[in-house]
Amino acid sequence: MSPAHAALAAGTAKSNKPQPGEILVDVKGLRMYFPITSGVLISRVVAHVKAVDGISFHIRKGETLGLVGESGCGKTTTGRCILQLEKATEGQILFEGQDLTKLTQKEMSPIREKIQVIFQDPYSSLNPRMKIGEIIGEPMKVHGIITDSAKRDRRIAELLSLCGLDPKFSDRYPHEMSGGQRQRVGIARALAVNPEFIICDEAVSALDVSIQAQVINLLEDLRDEFGLTYLFISHDLSVVRHLCHRVAVMYLGKMVELADCDELYDNPIHPYTRALLAAVPIPDPVIEAKRKHEVVKGEVPSPINPPRGCVFHPRCTLAVDSCSKAIPEFREIKPGHWVACTEV
């Protein structure tokens, strides 16, 4: 091992074993179809974008579930459905046993305190005309958590320092801060209502690597300190491996594989997962020189008119005739390891 390697490998290894807690979020048969309309005066639906097409998963308390896949696979839409920012076409979203899809706006309001979101783009997810203190204080005001303004200011200062920012930042505007600092503000805002469950939608993707590591560590510290549950939506497979207990892989609106984190990375089964993992370059020229670079052919088809049968079959190396006919069942081939493929 070269010296630098030894230096790099310093730090104890950690295992991301699944958490045993009770089920907090349970998504069953979720479908989200966006209608495409045509016509100026009399608009009629001509087709549907099948953004999410029948997926099921659960998240236990204290667990971090990674949701990975490429652009347009439906991972963000899944998050938005859980948040009730989209009305799901079909399926159930149970949060603490309560089906969110059945609730009215008013009934949903107290639950919004418990479910928060951190968005990808720290530049567009903060209101440029509000001071940082107002941004973080707003959710507390809306939910009536802290009505006394002096107490609220103290809590804002506390949240800022918790997220690694100087409490003096509360008088500044978003444009005075860097991307990493803004993302910390986004995290502080999510924490303001003491949530149980946070959806991180590409929360670190827009950040530079040195800053990204700071924010990942912050998310981890907060999870451990407050026992938070995360749905971590990302396209970065290395970050997901570092943070998540279990990982689900999506492709064109469908879930193709779901397993414990180490199991998925050590024994990927679905051809798409394997292709995805092989495509990630590793920062080591020696390893890269030895690795086989099998590039998956073609591009992701349109979700308006997805391929019949298995959605991945046109790009799949294992595809046989039956793949273009029947939709493969999402089956458990090992305890906790689910795959939607008939040929493995």
Binding site: V280, P283, P285, E288, H293, V295
Partner: protein
């Protein structure tokens, strides 16, 4: 291999109301014929500006190349007239940009955009240009090139547009291609396709490539030599193996430690570079990395260290390189 491009003490600055931004602050490096050289660094470190400077694409005002030389095949590009540099752009040196969605003209067909470079630089007939365009599309792996040639950019996906960009870059058989974050906007499986294509074509056609990226994995897979930039300066230079296995600058070391890796046991905690990159309007004479550096000493405040050899062609700009070397040795 003969040296193709030689950049010496290049300084590009932007004169803004907030002060002078020293975006590129005295960098020197070379690119040999047929070689792939990477410029790595985080946002705002000056990697894109240094690439745009090569083709003199810095908009004035507010930007200006204030000092330095850029010798390409013997001529200093900075002394050329506007007409002369226009003859270099797209012909001897071409560029592939990051955003495949915005770098093609939406109202011109692919054919018009592909043949424009050809007819600008060579006395070819429209028929010949079209034939060459079909050949190029075929070369970059676009099926049914005759039909695709007549289409418009919105008919193409992101990955396909980037293939068109590469075809345009290759049209005049350039000696050097500058690729500025060519795959950052693409998904990983498409990224792999595009990078393999670029590697394959540059090797086959003997074109030199400057690849600008923030992705350390991409660099490891594709670059022969690597320049690491921080706050407008090159702080370390070496082969990919030097940079990844024997990093000799605190910033490079910190950068490598801060990325989670799929091929290693999971670390309990990532080891981030603390603090923020500096404000480029407020740089002083000292080392710009010193506020974030674990090895800083008094001397770092006074002057920026020279980029010196730490063994062969492996260069590092750090006053404490001996201490750093020792520290790395001790850990092992």
């Amino acid at each position: 291999m003969a040296t193709l491009l030689e950049i010496e003490n290049l300084k590009t600055q932007f004169f803004t109301s907030a002060g002078t931004v020293r975006a590129v602050d005295g960098i020197s490096y070379t690119v040999d014929e047929g070689e792939t050289v990477a410029l790595v660094g985080e946002s705002g470190c000056g990697k894109s500006v240094s690439a745009l400077s090569i083709l003199r694409l810095i908009p004035w005002p507010p930007g200006k190349i204030v000092e330095g030389q850029i010798r390409f095949a013997g001529t200093d590009l900075l002394t050329l007239s506007d007409d002369e540099i226009r003859n270099v752009r797209g012909k001897d040196i071409s560029m592939v940009f990051q955003e495949p969605m915005t770098s093609l003209n939406p109202v011109l067909s692919i054919e018009q955009q592909l043949t424009e470079t050809l007819t600008t630089h060579f006395p070819v007939s429209p028929e010949e240009a079209e034939k060459r365009a079909i050949e190029l599309l075929d070369m970059v792996g676009i099926s049914d090139p005759e039909r695709r040639l007549k289409q418009y950019p919105h008919h193409f996906s992101g990955g396909m547009r980037q293939r068109v960009m590469i075809a345009m870059a290759l049209a005049c058989q350039p000696k050097l291609i500058i690729a500025d974050e060519p795959t950052t906007a693409l998904d990983v499986t498409i990224q792999a396709q595009i990078l393999e294509l670029m590697k394959d074509l540059t090797k086959r056609l003997g074109v030199a490539l400057i690849i600008i990226t923030h992705n350390l994995g991409v660099v490891a897979r594709y670059a022969d030599r690597v320049n690491v930039m921080y706050a407008g300066k090159i702080i370390e230079e070496g082969t990919a193996a030097d940079i990844y296995h024997r990093p000799q600058h605190p910033y490079t070391l910190a950068l490598l430690k801060s990325v989670p890796r799929m091929d290693r046991p999971r670390q309990a905690k990532l080891d981030p570079v603390e603090g923020q990159p500096p404000d480029l309007t407020m740089l002083d004479d000292g080392c710009p990395f010193r506020p974030r550096c674990r090895y800083r000493v008094e001397r770092c405040n006074e002057a920026f260290p020279p980029l010196e050899s730490v063994g062969g062609n492996h260069l590092s700009a750090c006053w404490e390189k001996a201490v750093l070397k020792q520290a790395i040795k001790e850990v092992s």
